[in-house]
Amino acid sequence: MSMNLDMISLNSEFSEGTGLRTEEMLLNVGPQHPSTHGVFRLVVKIDGETIKESLPVIGYLHRGTEKLAEGLNYTQIIPYTDRMDYLSAMTNNYVICHAVETMMGIQIPERADFLRVIVMEMNRIASHLVWWGTYLLDIGAMSPFLFAFRDREMILELFNELCGARLTYNYMRIGGVKWDAPPGWIEKVKEFVKHLKKEIENYHALVTGNEIFINRLQGIGKFDAKTAIDYSLSGVMLRSTGVKWDLRKDEPYSVYNRFEFDVPTATEGDCLARYQLRMAEIEQSLRILEQALGQFPEEGEIMGKVPKVIRPPQGETFVRIESPRGEIGCYIASNGKDKPWRMKFRRPSFNNLQILPKLLKGENISNMVAILGSIDIVLGEVDA
């Protein structure tokens, strides 16, 4: 994007249709705004109620994770990844561990792999629940937010029991996981899956069937598959245009190839399609969870054979996995020392956000928040 704030010029001209003199105006949204879900600033040029141009301003939450990582050893970087996509810290933990394990060729014990998949899928559900609640809050429905957070709380409680934190888990280690499941934990997760399966029906009754809601979202924020690929979108943003691409299915990592699940897609590419896909993804995650809990090994190690000092061989590697927001990738360039020479994260929120100015152009200002919300960004990840 080559536009900056100085280049936005305002016109005042006679509108041809009505002969009225209209004036363009700059509207600043954020960085502190409830609907931007964090510190995100959006400068929009509006003519009446129509958006002419928009400029996202990011970087308010930039902490330089990638640069900091160059001064830390690989285990020390894991807590920093918790703070990128703080709504699904488990997938971030996984991507860095997976990258280092791929580089060093470390074998992960089966039990650790299952624990990882279970926590990642639970985290995906928790993340989608936050999205569901806050998105509906954005477009004016209060009660779904309360229901979503009530059920998300159960996941956080389970994580708290497992690894001692509610949001910044720091659960995975290179070669396995830090904690084994405490006694009775697996049963609690099973109960939770049963509970959420029932609740999902209620969520649909509460929101999905609501005619006002459907009319509000249908046909806005629309784009096609070619645009999505050109902008290198991933996750639900891509699948809502009909491209069936899910790394859990197409490039299986961990033990995902042992489970049966569908990759929900839609062809409309609008906000409603993205809503429906995220809801369908919760159901698919529950399916994976059920199978993973059923096949969970009775006993076994939770840490593989790992050298005391982790020194990946000289070279570079890039791995990618499916996070709730899309493809999260981790690139490591190593010079054989215990610290990375260069580390780069491909953050899906950052890539998905790039399409926003295109989607907003020509839209009504009242649709702005609905479109921004449907992209599902986490600012910790956008700015890293």
Partner: protein, 137 residues
Amino acid sequence: MLGFAKGLGYTFKQLTAKKVTHFYPDVPYPMPPRFRGIQHFSPEKCIVCNQCARICPTECIQLTGKPHPDPEKKGKIIDTYDINFEICILCDLCTEVCPTNAIVMTNNFELATYSRDELFKNLNWLDDNNTNVREEN
């Protein structure tokens, strides 16, 4: 408007549902046994190996040792031990590397203070923080 009415029906049902909120500041909120709260430090266990200070991702631990007062014994004993809770992220790595469990997590998590320098905790404070100490480490 059938879908709309169905949604309202679900909301109405919640009138009789069980409460899910906690009376947190009035009633203490119990945390599970593995919870990562403010660290407890036992000076008598510490062997001044410096591993906790080295693993800390935010470099919030500072420690110094002094020679053992008994000249016949080898090694060092701890002299000062400070954790700066302005930057500590309670990531659990210090307790993970400690070979003698001198530093362990507790279930206490209330760290709010009126002044930033109160967050700088020294050896005595960390030693006195000995309630709800975590069993598993």
